[in-house]
Symmetry: C2
Subunit: 180 residues, 2 copies
């Protein structure tokens, strides 16, 4: 009977794996992948402009930052979702992994720059990105993932399993002060 139970369990696990493998991480017509060098020409900057001020970012400056972040792959991960038909990026989100001395030397994930293009909302693209970043955070042994958002986006992140926690505060640094 015990051997029989093991087989039932294994079959059930196999069956579950098959079902789960068939669930596409993003809807048909979209592809989720890591940010790459060519994405400057696939509308990354106009997409980010739907979230915040992007100012003038040249391709060479984009590549500088991209390479700096690639060198620190332990820290940075940026996902994008491409719309297959238009070959344009329609969603992005990033994870910053911080190595801490607290919690036994575990890590904390910081989710940053989550944005979905206006014309592609309501399809669960943000949730696909958030799920993949949470998976990544698990693999990198984060004990929590945190993010800051406007009050109006609290509901969206609650659907992704997040809970309202503390206050975010900011100190602005005027551009003039930033010059060396």
């Amino acid at each position: 009977i015990k051997i029989y139970e093991v087989h039932v369990f294994r079959f059930f696990r196999f069956f579950l794996a098959c079902i789960m493998a068939e669930v596409p991480p993003v809807p048909e017509g979209y592809e989720m992948r890591d940010l790459c060098r060519e994405d400057f020409h696939k509308g990354l900057i106009p997409l980010l402009a739907q979230l915040t001020q992007v100012d003038d970012l040249s391709e060479s400056r984009f590549l500088e930052i991209f390479e700096l972040r690639q060198r620190q792959a332990e820290v940075y991960r940026s996902l994008v979702i491409e719309h297959c038909e238009s070959k344009q990026l329609v969603a992005t989100a990033s994870l910053i992994v911080e190595a801490k001395f607290v919690h036994g030397g575990a890590c904390v994930g910081h989710v940053e720059d989550v944005v979905v293009d206006d014309h592609h909302r309501g399809k669960g693209l943000a949730k696909s990105l958030m799920n993949e970043l949470a998976e990544d955070a698990r693999r990198r042994r984060c004990y929590k993932v945190i993010l800051d958002c406007k009050e109006s986006n609290v509901g969206l992140y609650e659907k992704c399993g997040y809970k309202v926690c503390d206050r975010q505060m900011r100190l602005d640094i005027p551009a003039s002060a930033a010059k060396p």
Copy 2:
């Protein structure tokens, strides 16, 4: 008259520099400096335990994280304040510098793990740390510095020039899920 004005301006600048140089960044009896390898034996972990759960952090694990963070000095900076008499750490704060694609490719500073020992509060130690981290953020061309704090600490950070901004949300990752 123009040359005279230049001299007045230079004298004034020199005079200001003298005054500013005489303002000690921390009260007498304390020293502010970067975190170093030896700080594991100067009470860093019990100090952090006043802020959050630290669990069991061995010296070898501390050194692993310390070295990982040293290799990524573009990202991490940790300050400590040592009490000269007891040779123990009594305050610490860290800055995580994130290279962004937004804001013309500027950086954002994240202040993390700010804690002052119970017995050394009310002396402006937190403010000294916050001022130095803000200076560092300026040097590294951050356009803003952000932090998350409990509602009860909002006043402290307002004194450091911070303004309440958004909501912080968190997703906890159970320890079992963190294992590969």
